[in-house]
Subunit: 219 residues, 2 copies
């Protein structure tokens, strides 16, 4: 089991049994999360950027417009925090106090850098499209030179990171188990609905097979 | 249409048509979001706390353990940023460059304070349980005095805030409309699955009606 070395800020102080530094666990949560939230300071004021991401190896990649001032601050190497959060269910305990959510989350501390190499950039942008819907990058028109220049691509290392996971049923106080209050978990799941074709798409263009596969896997 | 006054940091610099300061819009997004992400500095390092929230009027409420150091920093009045993000769909444009997501997000800047009044605290904690599953607070055992004391309740004002919304289909470059690449939107939705009863729950206790209603509304 490969793990990252815990640091003071990635060591869980409370409920340490819910924490993990296992690399596979961290990667799985980061890969499943549709977006991450990036925290940085802009003029000494905390700001949060929700953004689409891709993990390759031990780094996350974000892309945005070169005109995005928050991304420019992030790319300048300001200390940042990246969080991925998956909500898996509502935990209904017998006592209000023990109500909770089942979740999987990751927090990463570090600093970002820009990816400037044109070949690497094009490859990672392809990967971002593939993460959205696998198979899509072979269909969509690839970025041209101008589009590549207008895209800021950022790399964020997964070195100082920890996961926190809550799963399973409610944990109530001894005396509350005698009550007749319903208790259990309501699982939550994000699903894809039937696609809405672009109004300007000719009827002759069928729904691609990779999209049908994506929909089947996200029912 | 009631709006919040924009400030330099809540004025959208790019794509201003996607921005809103309309109070109803802000409240609706905050009410629909299952959780928010709170950004603060802990020892000058940005940190993000994903947390369950409730909106009442023009304030958000969060609760956590009095032992949670991040919540204690937040409650001390450190400058904070709160973000709610709803992902509504994947936008598949003809060009890779114009791929996007449909989303609704809110960002709020401000400082938090603690709610100490016992009556107000009990009322808001009831509201938090009601937000999880409407009807649940009348069933679950209410918090006792010890539990109330161990709960830190935080109020965060919704005064300096803005929303950002992307909806609708892809917007491609003129020349790409000639291509035969499929384009459209894949709507995403979070649904509730069949509840998992607590192992220790006697078979004689039926699924409550409010839970069946919740499941029906979140299919």
């Amino acid at each position: 089991m490969a793990v990252l070395a815990p640091t003071p800020r990635t060591t869980l102080k409370r409920a340490p049994t819910r924490g993990s530094h296992e690399i596979d666990t961290l990667h799985r949560i980061l890969d499943l999360a549709p977006i991450v939230h990036v925290g940085i300071n802009v003029h000494a004021q905390p700001a949060i950027i929700p953004t689409f991401h891709l993990r390759i190896g031990d780094a996350l990649y974000f892309h945005g417009s070169t005109a995005n001032r928050m991304f420019r601050v992030l790319a300048s190497g300001e200390p940042a925090c990246v969080t991925a959060s998956l909500i898996d269910g509502l935990v209904l305990a017998r006592s209000a106090f023990h109500h909770s959510m089942n979740y999987r989350s990751v927090v990463i501390y570090g600093t970002a850098e820009t990816v400037n190499d044109a070949t690497e950039k094009a490859k990672i942008l392809t990967g971002l499209i593939e993460k959205l819907v696998p198979g899509r990058s072979k269909d969509a028109r690839a970025p041209n030179e101008t589009e590549l220049k207008r895209t800021l691509l950022i790399r964020f290392p997964i070195v100082e990171a920890s996961a926190k996971i809550r799963s399973g049923g409610p944990i109530d106080d001894e005396e509350d188990y005698e009550s007749d209050i319903w208790a259990g978990v309501v699982p939550l799941k994000t699903v894809a609905l039937s696609p809405i074709r672009d109004d300007l798409l000719p009827d002759s263009i069928p729904q691609p097979e990779y999209l049908s596969r994506y929909l089947k896997e996200h029912q």
